[in-house]
Amino acid sequence: MSSKFVYVTYIRTTAEKLWDALTQPEFTRKYWVETWQDCDWTQGASWKLMIPDGRVGDSGKVLEIDRPRKLVLHWHNQFVPEMKAEGPTRLTYELEQNGDEVKLTVIHESDVTGSKTIDAVSNGWPGLLASLKTLLETGRPLASTTRWPEGM
């Protein structure tokens, strides 16, 4: 059986702003523990999530891109050996504008049963999503996600 989680949050913003907040370094550095993504955001482009000290956290490529509705990435952890050994996972963002809110669905899945990668990211995502929501709605992220965790 595969590993998968599905997270949903509703954010008072526009789909375009939310798309930029998920992909652009000036946004992600604020709420996504100082990381940024190195990618030119075209179909098939290589994708990297960069740790603030310069290491590559995760790498992969853009599998599907339809701004500002859907983005699918190959997501392969690079900095934790046992997660790297599991091979790539798949991350899907779906954005749906409903009035003044956007419904954001985040699906992260792996073909590996009991995947450590999915287990690890499933702990991280709720905090990031809460912080992303707070940043877009109030202009300030949650303090808990503004710094890369020490020693990680």
Binding site: F5, Y7, V8, L129, A130, K133, S144
Partner: protein
Amino acid sequence: MDLDAAFRALADSSRRALLDRLYEQNGQTLAQLCEGLDMSRQAVTKHLVILEQANLVVVQWQGREKLHYLNPVPIHEIAERWIRKYERGRLRALADLKKQLEGDDDE
């Protein structure tokens, strides 16, 4: 989406039990969720609808199977808004105590 629906949904022990079952194993069908529970299928369905409306459970179709996934994002928002806020003072006091006892040279 406000948190009232999440608080109301969490105020029921049967619904919390369903969330715990999804925490144990995510992505279950209605039939799987009913197994070994002291609740009728209708009651489970009713509770799942309330959990879905509160955004605590998300439904995904896989072929003809309707799978239920735990969505902890509203619970996290509750923790940030209603729990962490009240802990901050105590955490700071502990951090200050640690600093005093261990000296300033470790950071």
